[in-house]
Symmetry: C2
Subunit: 224 residues, 2 copies
Amino acid sequence: MQIQYQDLSFEVYKRLKTMILSEEFKPGEKLKQEHIAKLLGVSRMPLHKAFQMLEDEMLVENLPRRGFYVTKIDHNLMLDVFECREVLEGLAVRRAVKVITKEDLDYLKSLFKPFCGKKKVDNKKYMEADQEFHNSLLLISGNEALKRFENVRNVLFRAYRGGLIREPVETLPEHLGIIDALENQDEKLVVQLTLEHSTKTQKVLVGKIEEETKSKFVFIGDEA
Amino acid sequence: MQIQYQDLSFEVYKRLKTMILSEEFKPGEKLKQEHIAKLLGVSRMPLHKAFQMLEDEMLVENLPRRGFYVTKIDHNLMLDVFECREVLEGLAVRRAVKVITKEDLDYLKSLFKPFCGKKKVDNKKYMEADQEFHNSLLLISGNEALKRFENVRNVLFRAYRGGLIREPVETLPEHLGIIDALENQDEKLVVQLTLEHSTKTQKVLVGKIEEETKSKFVFIGDEA
DNA sequence: TATACTTAGTCTGTATACAATAAACAACAC
DNA sequence: GTGTTGTTTATTGTATACAGACTAAGTATA
């Protein structure tokens, strides 16, 4: 593995990304260039480059001559992204099942080992493992184009900010089941399990959104 | 429709894009910033922004401290992209079949009208219609995330440069069949037809690649 | 003759400075 | 008092300048 030079803007990008994902910058907030440039001690040029990277990952939006704003997490967009993830992940596992190595499998297993057999799990840590698991599936597939769909992952990561969509006690067995099917190179099963896993989460999400929408209507009713 | 300001870099981006797609800049060619900046009469800053946009569409690659290069059309990448398009388009038509309007259908039909019943068709024009057809499917779906996968389209556009992968006489009925199924809101059929359409093209592409690889080996043999 | 090292030149990455535009606020007219 | 217009201020978009890194050519040495 050779050492790769990373320019300043990449550092800025990483920093801003964590700040957005941790909601130090709130959705809808304007990101003032000069202000942030001073904050991070860089000029506006590498900053601008970083903004663009974030734009491609759907973390910020650019309004010409107005500036960059943190994208609001829109529920409809979230569902749209989930749909895409579903089919892309389906593709990923179909390929992964053919090329997966013992090392890959060991890695996937290691992600969830800390949570197996535990009654109570650290939700934040589990969330990270969950993310990494789904990301790894894309990478293991070996499809170069798939690897580029990182923007999909970011929107979903932000979706998780309100907490996990489903409980670990429910999803952990599903994850392990997918790993098992990959190990046994059972293409049909792994595709089925991945699809089910995704569909279940989407259904719960739709339910939550409906709830939210309802309570919003009530609130508006109170105002009138 | 309100007037939107487009910054210089967007103009530069569009210009460079056509130059790359028309192979004024050859695959693998280095894009010297200062040189192109002078050529287009802009500074290196909007140029840099344009380069980044192109990078996200997989039209150029950036090597840190080396500069930007036009991406070589790699056959493996092309197949990877085709796989992604297949599943994304599957998703697109599943949604499209539910929300498609009469206007959408008329537009899709109008794309291929000039070629219907003709014995000989202008391949270049047909290629453009083909592109627009597949792009439209993504747009009609209404899935915001799907619309963002433009990079997929660009790689494939470049794949077409060597000519159409399959003949219009073969693909035209397939396209019309998909439109018909959309009109009849036959979800199952439209998904099946779209999948078949894509799979056939991929198969032909794989065959062409194998041919090419073979002839390359012969060439190398001659050299030795 | 081939290889390694030095040095000049070119190009990228970053910072600063300037111009153009949008937002905010105050003054004026209705 | 409200709405509109003009002016100021803040912020973005673009150009230029400089420093550091890479490339390549040329010379010296084995």
